[in-house]
Symmetry: C2
Subunit: 235 residues, 2 copies
């Protein structure tokens, strides 16, 4: 039985790290005392140690012990033996590259499909889709592949942002970028606004939080879905 | 003698395609009657034909004929024989992928280093740097490499955008992203605001337009440079 939370962001404006979702995480991680942290995405380039400390302080509030994968001799074994896994945000290319480098893609797939609870935020959510081709991040390293974990049969766009109609900037809006994606790819994309998450329970995929999400399907006009919508028919 | 224009954008807010730079282009392309257009970046996924028509209409204003590379049987020969080359904006990953696929990287390097005038805008400017690792684009296709043409000894960030201090969005600012880049790469990055361009004349690299540009050097505080600043010492 799969148990996955795919969150748009770790932090919403004006509150602390994971604060907005901590009550849900307490329930979600109910059966785990220890959480395996994967800090590879290194937001702002911070070290694995510093990032782990940040996660530890937060999870101590709900009485969870955090241990980071970079402190294990054998990271594949660490994933196999994990009671629960949290992959934090940062740069999706850096994260994907390190997962491939350490040969962890299959280990993660196996563990999570066998029921190890998984929390991803931002970059950690991007990798839950079919590919990382709808990340917002800068491609600061070249990973061996853009393929991702495929826990859901579509792509994720975290930190989804509506067009700023007053902007004089000529760079593409998020919607324009995702439409470009659909000139070269056919899978749906879910634009998750900050504060939203997808809750995957076995084969069910449900929108949570208190905002709508934007769904982009190939050759269709984008549309909004409300909270508690079942999304497992999308593919 | 190299002659290159590396422009942040094709279009500035409130004016037509290339309008802001057309007087300079007339001078720049003085010796060319025909311009070879490379439409591979396909902004908003438009077809090569439609994109070529857009460029043709614009260049007709300064009496230049535009012919697109996709209409030639042998694109390598088309580059070799070109009087001048224009690579338009769009998606940098799509552009880079197509250049590699058609085996055009070396042909472009040779032609431009031998003096064929080159105009790049946006994605067409990204590829003038050492790598495309500081593009703002979504990685909608997986190119065989992030290496670029290296006409300048640093990276370009086109459409450079200052942080919006009033924003409640938690996604990274452009400056944060470029600082992340410098945790994994050491070359400088030039943030070119819309309306700015670099003029490369042989070994000289000078900022043009009427805005300052932001320079990010490894392990240094970012700083602004004014118009007409010589940047060929950066590396």
């Amino acid at each position: 039985m799969r148990n996955i939370i795919i969150a748009s962001t770790s932090t919403i404006h004006g509150s602390g790290y994971l604060d907005y979702i901590l009550d849900d995480l307490k329930l979600f991680f109910n059966d785990a005392k220890n959480i395996l942290f994967i800090p590879y995405a290194r937001p702002s380039g911070i070290s694995h140690d510093d990032y782990t400390e940040k996660a530890s302080i937060c999870f101590a509030k709900i009485n969870k012990q955090v241990k980071s994968i970079h402190t294990f001799k054998n990271p594949i074994e660490a994933i196999k033996n994990a009671e629960a896994i949290f992959v934090g945000g940062g740069n999706t290319f850096v994260l994907t590259n390190q997962l491939h480098k350490n040969n962890l893609i299959n280990a993660l797939k196996t563990a999570i499909n066998n029921g190890t609870p998984y929390l991803g935020t931002s970059a950690g959510s991007n990798i839950c889709g079919l590919t990382i081709k709808t990340t917002n991040d800068m491609p600061i390293v070249y990973p061996p592949s853009f393929n991702a974990l495929g826990f859901v049969p579509f792509n994720i766009n975290p930190h989804y942002l509506d067009p700023d109609l007053t902007s004089k900037h000529m760079g593409e809006t998020r919607e324009t970028r995702i439409k470009e994606f659909h000139h070269f790819n056919t899978q749906p994309v879910i634009g998750l606004r900050e504060g939203s998450w997808l809750k995957v329970t076995n084969n069910s995929i449900v929108l949570k939080g208190n905002l709508t999400a934007r769904v982009f399907e190939y050759n269709k006009t984008p549309y909004e879905v409300g909270i508690n919508t079942e999304l497992n028919h999308l593919k």
